[in-house]
């Protein structure tokens, strides 16, 4: 044999529809064997079926690239065949055929094949034995837990959990064997307690951007989109790939420009682990046991005061919004109950009570939710506060909120009323102990001075960290805010 070798490799094909991998059950040829086109090379089991793979080449087997029992991804070469000396004509009829048979009835289909199967021309045929389930590969547990006991980890597909049968799926979604094993193991939740992967929304991005992100190794789920409706754009991916967005992602937003140290804090960029960090941030919000209390109040007087104040010269041109009153009331009430303006320091085993209030305002922006805060709002006059709120809102809407504007908040207001809803159960901004939701102001029938009158009514909802704030304190704080808003004159008593 002096002919130079012409090596061809056969890649594991997708033998079903949309399969991603297959297990090589056994090799039917060995190195050195001469094979013809369509001669079965190996038996492969996929999530759908066990099939024999026929050779696309005639030649000599020079290498088997995987051992039997290996799970191989579709598209991976599995065998090398030297086709240089191949004298076997292409497309020789490999399968058993009746043509040459003197007894046609017996010969057309049949003939023993390895594995207790019958050769059915090409591929596979019925077993001569009763159907039996193949042993799963070693990584999968021999005895998967029954599905019913794992309600917290529902399978992607209803696959057969019992040992006797396997799922027969025709068409539809095929998630592959790994996902199936994954579901059976019930280990889909990351070990660090991050939220369940399937419970989260798929990040929005167009396919070209997805591919671009995949090529660059950027994890879309860690990004916040800047496109319409929060869609992740190519520019967002570029920003993430260059690292400038990595630490911003930590705070759940994308700012412009690179972050700068603010307030004497040191900012350490966390690269490559954005997903974990983001997940941990969500997890931290659930570390603090939340309690939410509700209060419905008549704010007719506040609305009247608002009209009078708007006419005052020192507030001329200012936006005197209901939010301004809520902010002012919260600041006054927080002064009376300083414990609500605190944070839990787990490491130091201390409660940090702050004598300044950095008032966070949750703002819906084209880029998603951001929570900038008004620094030292507690010392501001009503006019200063109005100016600060207006500026903060304007900056957020323009999508120009700087990272430092979002850092260091101590207590937050979320104005769900602007969306026309009555109330909600807000989740604490991480590191803070209280958040107030302010609902829509509606004209409602209300008992006023003993008679049912149309009054302007709203709802407040206060969520607080029960580790720091007891029900009594939370209730008093909320009641004070309510009293200030329903009777603004009582502010004189604070």
């Amino acid at each position: 044999m002096t002919t130079s070798a012409t090596l061809r490799q056969f890649k594991l094909p997708d033998v079903g529809e949309g399969l991603t991998e297959g297990e090589i059950l056994q090799w039917l040829v060995a190195v050195g064997d001469t094979v013809t086109v369509n001669q079965p090379l190996c038996e492969v089991e996929t999530a759908k079926a066990a099939v024999e793979l026929p050779s696309p080449y005639a030649g000599t087997v020079t290498e088997l690239l995987f051992e039997a029992g290996t799970m191989v991804d579709v598209g991976t070469p599995i065998i090398t065949i030297d086709t240089s000396g191949g004298s076997v004509p292409a497309a020789a009829a490999a399968p058993p055929d009746a043509a040459q048979d003197a007894e046609p009835a017996a010969g057309l289909i049949g003939g023993p094949a390895p594995g207790g199967r019958t050769s059915v021309l090409v591929g596979y045929g019925p077993r001569n034995t009763e159907a039996r389930r193949r042993p799963r590969r070693a990584e999968a547990p021999a005895e998967p837990e029954p599905m019913a006991t794992r309600a917290d980890h529902p399978p992607l597909l209803i696959t057969a959990p019992d040992a006797e049968t396997k799922p027969v799926r025709h068409g539809g979604l095929e998630v592959g064997r790994q996902a199936e094993a994954h579901a059976l193991r019930g280990d889909a939740a990351p070990a660090d307690g991050a939220p369940h992967g399937r419970g989260r929304l798929r990040p929005l991005a167009k396919p070209p951007v997805r591919k671009y992100a995949k090529d660059l190794g950027v994890d879309l789920s860690a990004l916040t989109g800047s496109g319409p409706g929060g869609v992740i754009t190519r520019a967002d991916v570029d920003a993430a790939a260059s690292g400038s967005a990595s630490d911003l992602a930590l705070r759940g937003t994308v700012g412009t420009g690179s972050p700068s140290p603010a307030g004497g804090e040191q900012r350490i960029p966390i690269r490559g682990v954005r997903k974990h960090t983001a997940a941990a941030m969500v997890a931290s919000a659930f570390t603090a046991p939340h309690v939410t209390e509700f209060l419905t109040i008549d704010v007719t007087r506040m609305m009247k005061l608002r009209a009078r104040l708007a006419a005052r010269p020192e507030l001329a041109g200012m936006k005197i919004s209901p939010l301004l009153f809520v902010a002012k009331a919260l600041l006054l009430a927080a002064r009376r109950h300083p414990m609500v303006n605190s944070s839990w320091d787990e490491a130091a085993q201390e409660i940090v009570v702050k004598d300044y209030v950095n008032l966070g305002i949750a703002a819906a922006t084209p880029r998603g939710l951001v929570v900038p805060n008004v620094k030292d709002a507690g010392r501001m006059s009503l006019a200063e506060l109005a100016g600060a709120l207006a500026q903060l809102t304007e900056t957020a809407r323009a999508g120009k909120t700087a990272p430092e504007d979002m850092a260091g908040g101590t207590i937050t207001i979320t104005n769900v009323g602007v969306f026309g809803v009555d109330t909600g159960t807000p989740i604490l901004n991480p590191g803070e102990s209280a958040i107030l939701a302010f609902g829509a102001i509606r004209e409602m029938p209300w008992v006023h001075k003993g008679k049912i009158r149309p009054r302007q009514v709203t709802q407040l909802a206060l969520s607080f960290d029960h580790r720091i704030i007891d029900g009594e304190l939370g209730s008093r704080f909320l009641a004070d805010i309510g009293a200030l808003l329903s009777d603004p004159g009582s502010a004189l008593a604070f």
Partner: protein, 378 residues
């Protein structure tokens, strides 16, 4: 007595999953026994020349060889999927050869044997399963519609076409193909009602291959399928689907009746899908090996071969030449399939309308732009 008979009739299990006994099947029209013995039937005679018999054998063998190669090509990653006709060659070739040139056939996605008889190039069928086009043949020129993937939908198309033939005053017939599973579909029943009401020149040719993917026929039909035709008001017959001669004779007669204005006929070609539903299916999960063994004894090609050999109509040299021709065909199919170029993505806009509409042109431009965005900067 009568009640007992009726009950027995109603629950008459259609053989398939259990132990089928073809010769005992009532109303099964047969002209060639599984052993290759030529028999006569009182209602269906067939006058056929030796050349035609050899031609039928050639059709069956080449269609099977094509099917074998296509299955292998799918396993080698060259086709997205393949729906094998293994075991149903006689039903398809017999029906296809019963058509006249001016007749029209409406196939499912498995009628490779019919496509062959209508002169469709196998490579055009391969292109469909490779995913490079939607079937490139000219249905009007060949009298063979494009494959229909939607189960049973082609029965409505066929009936509508037949009503058109009727209104044209033409003397041709329409052959609608369907499977046993499709008989449970609404559109199939609607098509039969319309066909009956208008006495449309359409023949419903049902290949009962015993399984609707994995569901055995007795799970969806409590009476033999051909008996359903009576409910629609036209004749139903059950023919041995593995007997190419019987299928040819019965289909010819039904098509002729349609041409003569006698309305539709339902033909149940009783056969067996020896392979998987498609290459994505594993039949070992829902049927037993013993069942396949039973059906191997009724192989459609083997019985014709036995008949030709025994009666001296064909010799070993003939069979060898057909085998050689099969290998040549397989080589041509293999090479043609592997070398098939990928289509331009914009091609899908080109054949929607005879003349491009502004809306579609705009969509096409948008699509081009979208594809361009995969590379480089936006």
């Amino acid at each position: 007595m009568t009640a007992l008979r009726q009950a027995a009739e109603v629950v008459d299990p259609v053989p398939g999953a259990g132990a089928p006994h073809l010769p005992q099947q009532p109303d099964l029209i047969q002209l060639l026994t599984p052993e290759g013995e030529r028999v006569e039937h009182p209602d269906y005679s067939l006058d056929i020349s030796d050349d035609e018999l050899r031609g039928l054998y050639r059709d069956l063998a080449l269609v099977r060889r094509w099917d074998v190669e296509a299955t292998a090509l799918q396993r080698q990653g060259e086709l997205g999927i393949w729906a094998s006709l293994l075991g149903q060659e006689a039903a398809q070739v017999g029906a296809g050869r019963a058509l006249r040139a001016d007749d029209m056939a409406f196939p499912t996605y498995r009628e490779h044997g019919v496509a062959w008889t209508r002169g469709v190039d196998p490579l055009q069928v391969m292109g469909l399963f490779r995913g490079v086009d939607n079937g490139g043949w000219d249905p009007a020129a060949l009298g063979f519609n494009l494959y229909t993937i939607v189960i049973g939908a082609q029965c409505l198309h066929a009936t509508g076409y037949a009503m058109g033939v009727q209104r044209d005053g033409a003397e041709s017939a329409v052959l609608a193909f369907l499977g046993d599973g499709a008989t449970s579909q609404g559109e199939v029943n609607e098509a039969m009602i319309f066909a009956a009401s208008f006495a449309a020149p359409v023949v419903f040719f049902c290949q009962n291959n015993q399984y609707a993917i994995s569901v055995p026929i007795e799970r969806q039909a409590r009476v033999p399928l051909f008996k359903r035709a009576a409910g629609f008001g036209f004749p139903g017959v059950r023919v041995d689907g593995n007997d190419v001669l019987a299928v040819l004779a019965v289909t010819r007669a039904a098509l002729q009746a349609a041409r003569e204005g006698q309305g539709p006929t339902f033909i149940e070609a009783f056969t067996y899908r020896m392979g998987a539903h498609t290459t994505s299916d594993d039949p070992t999960r829902y049927r037993l090996a013993s069942e396949l063994e039973e059906w191997k004894l009724r192989d459609p090609i083997a019985r014709l071969k036995a008949h030709l050999s025994r009666s001296g109509i064909a010799d070993a040299a003939f069979f060898d030449s057909v085998d050689a021709e099969g290998d040549e065909l397989a080589a041509r199919i293999r090479q043609g399939t592997v070398e098939m170029p990928d289509p331009e993505p914009t091609e899908m806009f080109d054949h929607v309308f005879a003349e491009q509409t502004p809306e579609l042109a705009a969509q096409r431009a948008e699509f081009v732009e979208y594809h361009a965005s995969f590379e480089g900067e936006k």
